[in-house]
């Protein structure tokens, strides 16, 4: 049951990155792929119906962590205190930028929210990447199972570590590129005209950058946490996940080359899911990896709820999860096809 819930958390987090990733990426590129008000409304029409539902995957992941591994949620959120609030504030800015923009047909009002969306989305990708970087690098966990990180120390990735150092920022920048690619492929799929053209060109360039970044981040990870890949070498499932990620990148490039609109997006989904899946398999059972301290890591086994709790949660999760997926299927079907900017006052 512990392994099952570890898998649930990993899958839901992956779904968050894949789902909210496309609107974060499209948001990041918003100012660049769409120049006129009409084009920007097209981008918003593409992501508008989904962003809120997508964001719920983050909350649902938090919920799964809460019930299945309470000490991980407690130590993780309080330890990353500052970063969490920066994320929350960016989520506020992102949400209202999308929802408020359309209400007033004034160029100043609209450029304000266009910039808000782009900045908030880009920063969110950066912070999420940096958070992943922190988990890979490891955390100064104390004997009671807590840690506390300031936003930065000396950027060295050696003790005393901060949330932002050269390594975590590198992973953050990689995440911005990867999600921007993801958003670009989504816009390639959902839009036509100039937005589609620009997204297509950007996606091709970003795919190269992401491939190079992937290699760089892998080398950097070996530098800061030499033991990280020990789990990887002995777990074939992780190899399969990495193969899916690599295949996804190839599909992005091929799909863009032959102008198949949906293929690059699906490839990008596979890339993100494969990468996160391989990471989750590699670090198991560690959830919060301890460094430089006598205290052991917080693992899935040490943090898990008891069997009754996990089994009870399984019984409602198995009903709720398919329902959530069903809602998304319905909403994607209701919004199928390319988007166009709706008439003023009738959409985003």
């Amino acid at each position: 049951m512990v392994e099952f819930w570890y898998g649930v958390v990993a899958i839901m987090l992956t779904l968050y990155v894949v789902m909210d990733g496309f609107d974060l990426g499209a948001g990041t590129l918003h100012l660049f792929v769409a120049r006129t008000n009409e084009e920007r409304r097209e981008v918003l029409a593409a992501i508008g119906p989904y962003w809120d539902g997508n964001e719920v995957w983050l909350l649902a992941t938090g919920g799964a962590l809460f019930v299945a591994f309470p000490p991980v949620l407690a130590a993780g959120l309080s330890g990353f205190y500052f970063a969490i609030f920066l994320v929350l504030w960016c989520l506020i800015l992102r949400g209202i930028s999308i929802e408020f923009r359309s209400h007033v047909a004034d160029p100043m009002w609209r450029s304000l929210w266009d910039a808000g969306l782009s900045i908030a989305s880009g920063l969110l990708a950066l912070f999420f990447g940096a958070a992943l970087g922190n988990l890979l690098r490891g955390l100064p966990i104390d004997e009671q199972g807590w840690f506390s990180l300031t936003l930065f120390t000396d950027f060295s990735a050696r003790a005393p570590v901060g949330i932002l150092d050269w390594y975590t920022v590198t992973v953050g920048v990689f995440a911005v590129a990867a999600l921007a690619l993801h958003g670009a492929t989504f816009l390639v799929w959902k839009t036509g005209g100039p937005v589609h053209e620009r997204s297509h060109r950007l996606a091709a360039r970003l795919a190269v950058a992401v491939s190079a970044g992937w290699i760089l981040v892998t080398i950097a990870t070996v530098q800061v946490n030499a033991t990280f890949f020990a789990g990887f070498t002995t777990r074939p499932a992780a190899w399969a996940a990495i193969a899916a990620a690599a295949g996804g990148l190839v599909a992005v490039a091929r799909g863009l080359g032959v102008h198949r609109p949906l293929v690059p997006f699906l490839g990008s989904c596979a890339f993100l899911a494969g990468l996160l899946g391989a990471t989750a398999i590699t670090i198991f059972p560690d959830m919060l990896h301890s460094i430089g301290a006598p205290a052991p890591s917080i693992t899935a086994y040490s943090a898990a709820n008891d069997t009754t709790g996990l089994w009870t949660a399984f019984q409602w999760w198995i009903i709720g999860f398919p329902l959530a997926v069903l809602y998304f299927v319905v909403v994607f079907r209701l919004h199928r096809g390319k988007v166009t900017a709706p008439p003023e006052g009738q959409g985003y």
């Binding site: 989904y50 909350l59 649902a60 938090g62 309470p70 309080s78 500052f82 209202i96 004034d106 709820n305």
Partner: protein, 444 residues
């Protein structure tokens, strides 16, 4: 010198109080929107469709602010109350996670269809979206109240030697009797809020002589649901809630009433100022016997006073608790009276000519917001000094690694952001109300 815990409490209190200004309208209005759309369908009345569209636009703005201010609430369990989360997560993690899975997905995926999708998806799907938002928001309310009810009246659990709570009876936990009473009370209160807002809007249009056909509909619907809900929020649901407090949190009841001495034939206080230092209520005006009756069902029941309990179990802000309760009860009474008068006029067709009552209705829309806020303050201050009643003290629940300097930084950040959000919200809703429910060429 305020302690770390003071800033944690203030930040949570500020962010939750601000947040809940929005969902209370969302939940109540979702029900009224379903009613409007049903009226449009069954009576084949396009004006009700137009009315629904108008309120859906306001709903959308309100919902957006509710979402973005709600997300921080979920996270603050971990960021600021890490010890609480670590100790009780095995229990309350269930309802918090279920809220995400069963309620938030339903609301958030269908929001855009409700707000923008009517033309795209057609009448049936659009009606379904309204029902989805109604069901999602009301489910969400249940899960969060079930979570709170565990803190108020813990059931279905056991406490392990290291202080960790574990779940032993999921059904007892999920259907906590406290949760059932609090849910009914709270959801009806949200209908009161929405009814007052809809009625106030109708009163405003009537007084300003615009959109008169819609104004009549808003008044009739708002006053009808407003009267039913205002009464039901007091009796039976508020009464049930009070009886649970009397039975399970007698010290909270004593503090709510500023009652220091025990005794039978306890009077209910209408006005007075609790003087905690002198252990008495200054300038009290009381109705004898009524508190005994409301709490225990007979006029001669003994209602214990604060002095009967050790001081370390007293709520730590008796004055605020006392006033919160009296503000809620006082405004609740006033709202029933106002709605009763308005209902009498609306059903005899005279409301649109009664300018003084229309003025009162228009200006009264903040009352339910204040009463709901005061009600939650009563619940939460009455729970002190406990996080989980009788089992875990508030002081033991905060994050051990987060100090005042950090907590105050984020609190100040929230103050700034929420001020801007509030201004934007009022600006946008003000524009919608100024524009009115009738469609025009370009609604920009």
């Amino acid at each position: 010198m305020p302690t770390d815990i003071f800033w944690h409490r203030l930040q949570f209190a500020f962010t939750i109080t601000y947040h809940y200004l929005f969902p209370q309208l969302t939940m109540g209005l979702a029900l009224l929107i379903v009613i409007m759309k049903s009226l449009a369908l069954t009576r084949r009345d396009a004006r009700w469709d137009e009315a629904a569209r108008f309120w859906i636009r306001i709903f959308g703005i309100n919902f957006a602010v509710g979402v973005v201010t709600g997300v921080p609430m979920e996270f603050q369990f971990g960021t600021n109350w890490a010890n609480f989360s670590r100790l009780t997560g095995r229990v309350i993690g269930h309802t918090l996670a279920m809220e995400g899975l069963f309620a938030f997905f339903l609301e958030s995926t269908f929001l855009a269809i409700l707000v923008w999708g009517e033309r795209r998806v057609g009448r049936a799907w659009h009606f379904a979206a309204a029902v989805a938002l109604f069901a999602g928001s009301w489910l969400s309310g249940y899960f969060i109240i079930a979570t709170n009810s565990f803190m108020q009246h813990p059931v279905g659990h056991e406490v392990l030697a290291d202080g960790t709570f574990r779940l032993v009876d999921f059904g007892a936990f999920l259907f906590n009797p406290w949760a059932r009473a609090a849910y009914a009370h709270n959801m009806i209160a949200s209908v009161v809020t929405a009814s007052f807002v809809v009625a106030a809007c109708g009163a405003y249009y009537t007084l300003s002589g615009r959109h008169l056909d819609h104004a009549r509909r808003f008044l009739k619907l708002g006053v009808t649901t407003g009267l039913i809900a205002s009464i039901a929020v007091a009796f039976p649901t508020g009464d049930q809630q009070a009886k649970l407090v009397a039975r399970h949190q007698p010290v909270a009841l004593a503090a709510m009433e500023g009652r220091f001495e025990s005794g039978t034939r306890a009077g209910i206080t209408l006005i007075g100022q609790p003087n905690v230092k002198a252990r008495r209520l200054d300038n009290p005006i009381q109705v004898p016997g009524v508190l005994s009756f409301l709490a225990f069902g007979t006029f001669h029941s003994n209602v214990p006073g604060l002095l009967e309990f050790p001081e370390d179990q007293w709520p730590d802000n008796i004055e605020l608790l006392y006033y919160a309760f009296h503000v809620m009860a006082g405004l609740g009474t006033l709202m029933i009276a106002l709605m009763a008068v308005a209902a009498g006029l609306v059903w005899t067709g005279r409301l649109s000519r009664s300018r003084s009552v229309l003025w009162a209705l228009m200006l009264a829309f903040p009352f339910p917001y204040i009463a709901t806020t005061a009600g939650w303050m009563t619940t939460e201050l009455g729970r002190q000094p406990w996080l989980v009643y009788g089992l875990l003290r508030t002081a033991a629940g905060a994050s051990p690694t987060v100090h005042s300097g950090t907590a105050l930084f984020t609190l100040i950040g929230f103050c700034g952001i929420y001020l801007v959000l509030g201004v934007l919200f009022l600006f946008l809703v003000g524009r919608e109300i100024a524009h009115g429910p009738e469609p025009d060429l370009v609604h920009g």
